[in-house]
């Protein structure tokens, strides 16, 4: 009971690994292919880009939330996997560059950005104080300043603690996280209004921000689980991150599956029951044609399947089961964002385009390329964290 747990694994992601370069290569190829597509069909390019951009930015936002939650609650369960989230959030600063195509495509994506359309539309006139181009761009800059600053600080201080072993830094991180979590909650709410809700500017849902958070946070746990599996597949941290830590990630995954279902259904039920044409139209478009197949598969693959499978204690211990459910949820997460954005551009049904894939691979390659690029520069685990011993010697609660 009194012996101090030690880490026997190497804590350095191999500097000569080909992984970052391969991912950057994939990203560059995807982005170039999509850029070619832009000249054929600009509307499709921007719409596909927005879907993929939201998908990966959502992972970054959720990672930032996880790091700050961890500091505020002085948690010990996830110290071993915290550095992964810290690197995701530290990259938010650079990730802002990938917002530029969304701003360039503002006229293709957002109906409210056309002044003649606003002139002819009473509803859009009422919303023009918020939905106008200069304010929109200003808000985007503000979001990425907030996220970039928080991500940068949280990562930098944590890495500093690796070197100095100064436990006072945890107090500093906690003090940063408390207002940070408030700022993040507000900024992600407005970001979701801007990116996804205002694609259909007549529609509104007051709980869209929490809905966006719920989908991103549910999809974040599969990313963490698969990342841990990937690292261990490379022979890294095999003895350090144990079954019990993976079990915890599975438990979070389960919890936020339930949270997602609660939030997504609440939004639907309130709109369905009130039956106000202005609000129901959004769901009406998404429940007709082939769009309804995505809507129903959300119920099955995003809630029922992961809920019933992950409820089982043994399932959270089986790597193959966790990996499978993680992939299912990530696919359906992409489908959900697609289902939120695309019906505006193709009302009659799913119209899949190759640019949906190339933008996804392009941005995905860049997102994870940036991740590994930063990840290999520092230790993979915050080695001097005061809670690390707690985390290492963790055992199951019966």
């Amino acid at each position: 009971m009194s012996h101090k747990p030690t880490i026997t694994d190497s804590l350095q992601f191999p500097a000569d690994s080909k992984v970052p370069r391969a991912l950057f290569g994939l990203g560059a190829a995807g982005i170039i292919a999509s850029a070619v597509g832009y000249f054929f069909n600009a509307d499709q390019f921007f719409a596909s880009y927005l879907v993929s951009f939201t998908f990966f930015t959502g992972i970054g936002i959720a990672a930032l939330m996880m790091v700050m939650l961890h500091h505020i609650t002085r948690s010990s369960w996830g110290v071993l996997v915290r550095r992964i989230s810290e690197v995701f959030s530290a990259n938010m600063m650079i990730w802002g560059i990938f917002l530029i195509p969304v701003l360039l495509g503002i006229h293709n994506l957002y109906h409210w950005s056309h002044e003649d359309a606003v002139m002819a539309d009473k509803l859009l006139q009422g919303k023009s104080a918020y939905l106008n181009t200069p304010f929109f761009i200003g808000r985007q800059v503000l979001y990425f300043v907030i996220w970039g600053f928080l991500g940068y600080k949280l990562h930098k201080a944590s890495v500093e603690m690796d070197e100095t072993g100064d436990w006072g830094i945890t107090t500093h991180l906690r003090k940063l996280s408390a207002p940070g979590i408030l700022l993040l909650a507000l900024s992600l709410t407005f970001a979701s209004f801007d990116w996804l809700m205002s694609v259909d500017p007549h529609w509104f849902s007051t709980m869209f921000g929490v809905y966006f958070f719920a989908i991103c946070f549910q999809a974040f746990w599969p990313v963490m689980i698969l990342m841990v599996f990937f690292l261990q597949g490379q022979g890294l941290l095999k003895k350090t991150i144990q079954q019990v830590h993976i079990y915890d990630l599975g438990a979070w995954f389960f919890a936020f599956t339930v949270f997602y279902a609660y939030i997504a259904f609440s939004q639907f039920l309130l709109i369905y029951y009130a039956n106000i044409p202005e609000e129901t139209l959004w769901y009406y478009h998404r429940l007709e044609g082939s769009w309804k197949y995505i809507a129903y598969s959300l119920l099955v693959f995003r809630f029922a399947v992961p809920f019933l499978v992950l409820m089982n204690r043994e399932a959270k211990h089986r790597r193959s089961v966790l990996a499978f459910i993680s992939i299912v949820v990530l696919v359906i997460h992409f489908a959900e964002i697609y289902w939120i954005v695309m019906p505006v551009f193709s009302e009659h049904g799913i119209h899949f385009n190759w640019m949906d894939i190339t933008t996804f691979l392009g941005l995905g390659g860049m997102f994870f390329g940036l991740f590994f690029n930063k990840f290999q520069k520092h230790k993979m685990v915050p080695v001097n964290d005061p809670k690390l011993d707690d985390c290492l010697s963790k055992s199951y609660h019966q």
Binding site: L269, Y272, Y273, S395, Q398
Partner: protein, 181 residues
Amino acid sequence: MSANNEQTLYGILAEYRNPKELIDVAREVSKTGYQKWDTFSPYPIHGMDKAMKLKKSKLGWIVFAHGMVGFLGAVTMMYFMAVADYPTNISGKPFLNGPAWVPITFELTVLLSSFGAVFGMFFLNGLPKLHNPLFNAPRFKKATDDGFFVCIEAGDSLFDKEKVKKLLEEAGATHIEEVYE
């Protein structure tokens, strides 16, 4: 403690110094094949379930059964009210209204599941129990403070007073006593 032969023996109670010793003795006792015995400590000890070779609790199945009763009960109730017995047109929505039924189905499932969890736990623990013979041993009060105890009950088919005492003593008990009903 004077042994009183007119009373029936309930069991042998042994005290140990710390959680580690308690886990070690639990491992020893579980090897011998006794069924009616238990350990007592001021707080939960990780690994005790394994040391005592306890089976997985059946509580999950009780909760599941209650949850299903809540779920099916809710759906049946609403079907009877809104479709079979007294269909009412509410802003043109269908009588069999899936989304609108979800909250009540959810609430009843949760309510009955929690009843199942609480009362199932009572049932499995044999509660409410107004008196336990172990309370006859004044020393046993320490179990809520700083005492770590093992009790092997006389009702066990393998029970033999001297053998049990020897077993517990060899495991390093600081105090052993006979507890009477």
